[in-house]
Symmetry: C2
Subunit: 327 residues, 2 copies
Amino acid sequence: MSASLAERARSGDRRALARLLTEVENRTTAGEQALRALYPLAGRAHLVGVTGAPGSGKSTLVAALTGKARAAGRAVAVIAIDPSSPITGGAILGDRVRMQIHATDSDVFIRSMASRGHAGGLAASTVAAAAVMDAAGFGLIFIETVGTGQSEVEVAAIADTTVVVQAPDMGDEVQAIKAGLLEVADIVVVNKSDRPGADRAAAQLRAMLTVGAHSDRAAGDRPRPKRPEVLLASALTGAGMPELLGALDRREAVRRAAGADGGDAALKRAEAQISGILAQRVAAQLREPARAAQRATTLAAVAAHEIDPFSAADRLLELLRADRAED
Amino acid sequence: MSASLAERARSGDRRALARLLTEVENRTTAGEQALRALYPLAGRAHLVGVTGAPGSGKSTLVAALTGKARAAGRAVAVIAIDPSSPITGGAILGDRVRMQIHATDSDVFIRSMASRGHAGGLAASTVAAAAVMDAAGFGLIFIETVGTGQSEVEVAAIADTTVVVQAPDMGDEVQAIKAGLLEVADIVVVNKSDRPGADRAAAQLRAMLTVGAHSDRAAGDRPRPKRPEVLLASALTGAGMPELLGALDRREAVRRAAGADGGDAALKRAEAQISGILAQRVAAQLREPARAAQRATTLAAVAAHEIDPFSAADRLLELLRADRAED
């Protein structure tokens, strides 16, 4: 059944694709089988991360870029990573108002994913979903993260190209969040360029990035951050959109020309996937009936401060090891 | 040397405590030894998570609460989890302006931690830092997260009591982030109660939480969210601060009376610690000289879409298993 679900997703059945993504996201056996089958067919899409502080206008920008790409006949998928609902556990911003103009277009596929509750981590789930969309023929995949936390930055880091969006008029705390995001940026978009202060914001940003490039040399052994392009755009008026899409395509062309291995982002994606699966396998083994009781006892002993967590972890590793040696 | 560092931290030497926290955060051998020694002495502090969307006024609130607790003679520690600097990799908001009034008070200890780059995860690092502060005699520990992402919510979940802060006047996206945070809230503070709309915001919030409690029953097997208290406060004028500190102390008293095992949060802390250490141990084993080459080959094969990540993970687990059986 699942093989045919993968087949149908590949042949353009969007409902089959949606169901398949649910299987993959829930890490079911059917989802794992389908992903194994589809994985060799992926690797052709350009994965573009779009991230930024709340209020920067990421969603509007992604909708506008999608419109531009569709006008050129390209199939576009969007993975929107949203804060989780306290009620259903699902994604909250699911039906994004800005994307509704694309709702009847079968060559635009939008998937909302909740930010929480991913066995093996959010980055691993995102990579898996993107691989399925890639195998289903979407050549341009936007990964939009509304949040500003550690996982969201990691998600940005697994994209081939990462766009950090900022609005001209934001507070100190948001500025600091933005600074944290610059490390992963290939392109910084000063959005809402129709507003006062946009040109000044872009100039400040370019100055800040220059300082960053210099200071880093002094900081020693840390990798020098790449120097991102700074572009002005207005998702509302459409200003700067062709330039942004052009910049994305140029980066993709350079990346493709550089070789078939997919580059750093592909290695990061592989690492996120594999470490996610390893963590899940180890956790599942510890929850098996033969070990569950000892796992629970060990957790309770750490919670009561009777043993330290390092000794506890070593004890659980021994438990896995002993069983393995017996197999 | 490290044992004496732990001893000095315990006896009130704040510089020793700061150095020890660096060792623990960097997961050095000395840090691990010290944490093993100090862990049995922890378990007495009340860990209070304070989180909320950017601009909600969390830092000001923590500073005001710290002032109240200090006036009652209590020792207070703050772990402030900040966006990471793109230049140094360190925490950005380090010297928080609001906390500077406490800078000369040795019974207030403030530690900024970068949100990124924690081997084994941010939650595990936070739990470890809190255990050290706890063993050093701080009875009230605030864990403040500026971010709004998955990891930040997980950090909130490892606190004994979690306070979600919101300001009355915030946009849609921030509202959605807030909704995602309500799941972990024990107390919701509508901050900036001096501003217009605060009473209405509190009323809306209470109504929303009532709907949530009902809908969840229909949603089936998910655990019903606890119904948080909603309080109005103004960190600026001090209004509502005694009530908030009182509410925290009442919750702690109830938790203590309920038993010595530390409750759900202590189990979550144990789990975060142990799974962080397990992930770190597995990753370290795969990076050992005997396995590093095969690990790199496997990653590259997944990056090039030659094998799928599940087969790759199973191959790496076999690699660990074979070596273990031989030991």
